[in-house]
Amino acid sequence: MSGRRNETSATTARGSIRRQLFVQLLAVAAILSLAFFLIVREVAGRVAEATQDDILAASATSIADSLRFEGGEVTLDLPYSALSMLGTINEDRVFYRIVADGRTLTGYDDLPQARPSATAPRPQFATFDYRGDRVRAVTLLRPVGSGSTPVQVAVSVAQTRLGMAAISARITSIATAIGVGFFVVATALSLLAARSALSPLARMTLSVTRRGPADLRPLRTAAPRELVPFVDALNGFMARLRTALGQSEDFITEAAHRVRTPLATLRAQAEVTYRKLERPEHRQALREMIRAIDESARSAGQMLDHAMVTLRTDSVAHETVRLDELVRETCDRFAPTAGLKDIEIVTELPPAPVVLAGDRILLQNALHNVLDNAVKYSPADSTITVRLSAEPGAPRRVRLSVADQGRGFDGRDLKQLTRRFSRGSNVGDIVGSGLGLTIADEVARAHGGHLDISENSPGAGACIALVLPSA
């Protein structure tokens, strides 16, 4: 069980809102760019075509204007300018054909002619292949002559589309460049948008991860409307957690009260009775009883402690702890208990403050259990040395060791000792529940450290050390 905040998340990420948002924005940008490209190309093409059409129409009109009716014949003096205005563009070839009464007056015989209706004498445009090239052609109908039946003359002018193609190619490349540019800018903006749209989420995450694990107050950061239900759900969950934790602690407290108060009564009465007893066998029997009371009280106490420690190690508060002061206070508190056996607790603390991030109550409890063992397994008139020092060879680690002059371990089963309810083979008739070192070990590990169990050297006895990371 680790109380450390998990480095890796327990949830497997499925999909990413940011990526999704980004991809969607990108798709929109792509569609827009493409549409933009197509529209620009289309419009530009149309404009180019309209320009060509205008010139073609002007050319055809100027030809039509030079038609004469002389002596019942339609004559034409082809104006140079009519064709030169077309020739200005590129190397486009120009074709023309003038037809009067179904007979080609001049020009290319085979140039197809649209057949404009007489009722709508507007120029007719058409695009078709002619002599291996694509051409754009206009056909104009003009009545020539006087009298009641003028001759209908059809003037057609056609031009290849090389210039048009060149223009539209240029327009296309410009449109492509603009489209690509638009897409690039849109991509960058999408990235920014996706990030900034999610920034409230990042802010909220930060404000949750920054708080201490015991901090179950509701989240108060302002959230965008869409996130409000989520924040509410989170706050509701934390409220439930708070109650549940509170109930567990209350339960442990209540259980302790229920167990310990009758035991205390029993023990006090037994002590009173013991004082009044004379016969050695009675006294011996009562001693056994009192020991049994002590043993059950101790076991109950340590089990409740263990439950409390487990509850707390799941969420180690990382407050700033002055470890040196904590050690001094705890040892001072313990001195009267040790004094009953004339055991002296000597503390060796460094001159400078030792600070670490952790849970005061847990650390105190761990040290308490280790000290309790030391006193328990030590003979009268001995010394227990509590030393707080830098861990040799490990920067930013401190070693809090408790060395006694007691029976030590038989050099065996050191690894077993931190297991729950495991007791050493060296215990003899000393009461215990096998939870003390378990608690100390769990506290050390919850703080990112470990418990070091060794023989006390030099000298005989045990040395139990909490190795902890310092701040």
Partner: protein, 222 residues
Amino acid sequence: MRFLLIEDNERLASAIAERLRLDGHAVDHATTLSAARECLDAAAFDLILLDIMLPDGDGRQFLAGQRRARNAIPVIVITARSAVSDRVSLLDLGADDYITKPFEFSELEARCRAVLRRRGGSAANQTSFAGVTLDATRGSLNTGRRIETLRNRELRLLEVLFNAPGQVFSKAQLMDRLFSFSEDVSENAIEVYIARLRKRLGGTDARIETVRGLGYRLVGPR
């Protein structure tokens, strides 16, 4: 010493009170906080033993109230709570010390002594015999020529003898005072401590005399 015991559990309270009286202390008992306040108004106490779970209020509030009232009587809290969770806040609230239920009376006594010593001691806790003065709170022995600091067990043993000079105490009686129930020691272990005390008292008029087959007693000048 005069104790005020604030404890709502009648049976536990009477057992504690009786046990303390066996050691020669005076004990007043209150089951509620209001009764406790009346007691405090009526008499002077050396120490308050306070259970923090009480029917008419949290003992911790009483504690905080006492501290605000600048009542200088030291308080030792008796708690049934987990050894872990309460300590810090109890001390923050101004308790001088705490002891978890169930407890050994010798430990309670040791804690009371430590608290009184921290508070500067009281003259009432000195006993003199044959020109030798024992200060139980400070744990010192004034022989008139020198002041000896006694170890815990020496002190407890000598205290028994000083409180009843001339009375014979059996080895068993003395051992009860010295050793906890969890220790299995032979009766001869007491002789080690008697020998140490004789050395401490050397050169004074007070002597510890062996009464053959019965035990020991404190006697004055021959």
